[in-house]
Subunit: 153 residues, 2 copies
């Protein structure tokens, strides 16, 4: 079984190798536990015409972080599966004028329930939330509904 | 007064010059009328690790297209304003395995009401919908709530 640190390194490498936008965004895993994943990206490649963070970069960072949280849980506790974002809601409350820092916190019970459903049926749904702060206030809130299914289904 | 075709050329140039992610995505305006804006992007720079379109690219394309629809309406009929995405909901129904083609259709009455509110108060809100099809079936549906405010407010 690989350590969480090893898996986090693999996750970041996978993003940079397989998803051109993630490479351009320069996403970097800042910290990682069983219950939380924090991913950062510099402002420069992610700016919009106002000089603040582009909504598409903020969404992409949230989508990657929640996907990564799910991927880490599956890699640690299961034999793998295909993770897909099915639906999402995002609110942009304040502009982000510096580094983008996204935090995804997952209740262990939510992950455990999804993993148990997956083990039984080969399919699971889970909802994950992410937030990005600016000057210690909530700037972006994201909720993503992910579906995990066994390979080939 | 500039023609719609001239404004569309300016819009695409602004995206490529001011938003690094839009340049990497290689977004191109496919067609443009007073009631509809269609924007395309090739799959290669927008792929994910499954070889289909990255959710972040699909969101970004929708957000740019609806923003562009608003920008064109403001450029044609008003003295300008700052357009910001406040909130959005997006559904990913099917994978997109080829070119990304995003269509934003706006009711003239919705744009007219927002422009009238802006003229009176210096502020307007409007909701715009975008869709991306795959094999002639809806693949992505996006709804964005935009706020337009006068410069400096």
């Amino acid at each position: 079984v690989k350590s969480l640190a090893t898996l986090a390194t693999e996750l970041q490498a996978t993003w940079h190798r397989e998803i051109p936008l993630a490479a351009v965004m320069d996403v970097q895993i800042a910290s990682c536990t069983d219950a939380e994943l924090v991913v950062r990206a510099p402002l420069a490649p992610n700016r919009n015409l106002h000089g603040t963070a582009f909504a598409g970069s903020l969404f992409s960072l949230c989508a990657l972080t929640a996907w990564g949280m799910t991927w880490l849980a599956w890699q640690q506790r299961s034999s793998g599966g295909v993770i897909v974002l099915a639906e999402s809601r995002i609110q942009f409350r304040k502009a982000v004028a510096g580094e983008l820092l996204c935090r995804c916190t997952a209740e262990p019970a939510v992950l455990d329930a999804a993993l148990a459903a997956f083990a039984t049926t080969g399919r699971a749904k889970l909802a994950l939330a992410c937030s990005i702060e600016a000057n210690e206030k909530p700037a972006v809130t994201f909720e993503g509904h992910y579906v995990v299914h066994a390979h080939g289904r």
